[in-house]
Symmetry: C2
Subunit: 428 residues, 2 copies
Amino acid sequence: MTEPLRLGIAGLGTVGIGVVKIIRRHAALLEARTGRPVVISAVCARDASKDRGVSLKDYAWETDPVALATRDDVDVFVELMGGHEGPAKDATQAALAAGKDVVTANKALLAIHGQALAELAESKGSVIRFEAAVAGGIPVIKSLLEGLAGNEITRVMGVMNGTCNYILTRMETSGLPYATVFKEADDLGYLEADPTLDVGGIDAGHKLALLASIAFGTRPAFDDVKLEGIQRIAIEDIRHAADMGYRIKLLGVAQRSARGLEQRMTPCLVPADSPLGQLEGGTNMVVIEGDSIDQVVLRGPGAGEGPTASAVMGDVLDIARGLRIATFGQPAETLEPAPSAQTGLPAAHYVRMSLQDKPGAMAKVAAALGNAGVSIHRMRQYDHTTTIAPVLIVTHKCTSSMLEQALDGLDGTGVVEGAPVALRIEEL
Amino acid sequence: MTEPLRLGIAGLGTVGIGVVKIIRRHAALLEARTGRPVVISAVCARDASKDRGVSLKDYAWETDPVALATRDDVDVFVELMGGHEGPAKDATQAALAAGKDVVTANKALLAIHGQALAELAESKGSVIRFEAAVAGGIPVIKSLLEGLAGNEITRVMGVMNGTCNYILTRMETSGLPYATVFKEADDLGYLEADPTLDVGGIDAGHKLALLASIAFGTRPAFDDVKLEGIQRIAIEDIRHAADMGYRIKLLGVAQRSARGLEQRMTPCLVPADSPLGQLEGGTNMVVIEGDSIDQVVLRGPGAGEGPTASAVMGDVLDIARGLRIATFGQPAETLEPAPSAQTGLPAAHYVRMSLQDKPGAMAKVAAALGNAGVSIHRMRQYDHTTTIAPVLIVTHKCTSSMLEQALDGLDGTGVVEGAPVALRIEEL
């Protein structure tokens, strides 16, 4: 194959421009590595007059992404617009229907419509690649889909939202409360226009659904991801966790057991001296566990022009080299509907509550936990100057449903103020 | 493609048996992922009567690896014998000459004969894959060759000999001297039959030469790897390094600059709080830096039945899926002869010496360094009860040739006992 591979790039934001820059800067290198020129035929964005810091005059300009996606001189449609409905979805479908390959950074689109798009792609002999959709520049999709394909995967975990990890580590180092650090992150431009996508765990949940599909041969099922954001994490939780040798991370975990497929994107405690516990700032990390590999940890930049464009280019170059692989690693029709686990595997939990300081209060707490079958591994009551005592409990292993029953019981004691904060402790 | 992919496996040690086990255990999973059965036609080892804990009766048995490699019912020759001459080389050449693909875990063979073998493979339209040759189960070859192929790679680093890392971390935690911990490692069966392969850095040096070739588009050039083992590392060095916030690792570094290609496998100081500094025991870690990606860190088991077999299977499944890629990422004839750097990029260095405790001694040391253009960043002289004072110097950045000149100068002062220990401090 010495024919050029011709790209149509839709979306000229940070990532799109990053891709254009790599192709311009490394034309010779890319041709040496793939044996054929990689060229851009056309680009598409709303505003053609905007100065994007790189010359686009060699490329045809389309204002309609569907028109771009179906051009005769486009072999690969590179979708970098984002959004799980509207133009991104329409153009991706049009590209696939026209027999084009698709490279995308769009986690929402694939987490929600991945099954249908994969079926469409396979019916046309096209491929969809999405390394840039998960954990930025880290080659995690490739590792899971290809490098570790000889493994039965047992668990996939990841810190995959740099903004949340920035907020949590900044709270710890500065001692500032969530609201203040959230404001800082917003001022620094770290947050999505809708910040719930970040701090509510939605963005990271999309990524987890994609990893789970590849790992377990199931249909992507974002709706089954248990989502909990970091908004309720107080500075006290971060301090208490540190006291006990843990750090709090917004951690995605996908795990398959006899109970079904468990997908969680929730704040968890992880050992402070583990690779996940040591992860600082906006960096991402994915942990893959398999029956032969034991554990592999991948760490790198989760966002940004260069890293995300690097991931897009990895997919483009695979296509240039002739790699044809099913979207989620096996034919879409063989992906099983993900049987969602009703209750997760047992784990120790961290529970923090505000307890009324009066005789018998602690006995009521202990009884509520005991009635739910939850036993106490460690407990601390902290100094207090008011009539409300901060109480911290680490449970022995229990299921999430047992924990919920215990929390309901605590609510019924009449001695616990507000809702306790309960966080899973993830073993590594 | 629904034809089975048929393997011939030469070498039924730990890794070979691991591969057999995966293929037997996961036949359905592997077929789902590749769209075709992956089967073993024949195996080869010296002793057919030995109980290897897994049934081999379904496979033809060959005693001659060349005969195995050229069987009509073998599509992929899986070379797990080891050794850079003799049967491994002969059978690999025979397989390629017969148009077979080759999957190998043999770092020495490829580091030394990789260029010739790659040329032979390409002349026959065959591929050679070698994920298992570098860093065990970590998908590092795939990440560098494919996932990060859109980057100009700027540096590759790795801790890739688990035995050395075990010895160094065990020295630190136990406070025991090198000789004692070396003996422990030997008793535990961690060392190669020729332990110099491990502690002399040769095994890890082979791996570095392979990474450098892919990273920089150069011919594998093991002879140009600057090798230094860990045998000279004293418990004092480990303690001093820790005092200053560093840890000592047998670290491979490949870097290309205007000076040429630098390949080093030497003990280095790395920041204790960096991912490399935090690496404990037998685990491996590879750090890849590129112009777009910034830095990606991959961590995982560097040896053992499961992890190494997982890497072999990753390559086998790529071939089953139809991925055809040049051995070192671009056609062998386009790989440049590696222009070896005569002197490395400047770095700070750690120097420990035993200084005679007499007037003017320190002045002579300072003069020797100054005459070589090496300036002192930090210096400590430790308490001592004899007439020999332990002296520790951290230099400002200097080249390795400046440092060698300084060490020659120290030798000429007549006040330094024995040879100083000098270690590079690698910035991360």
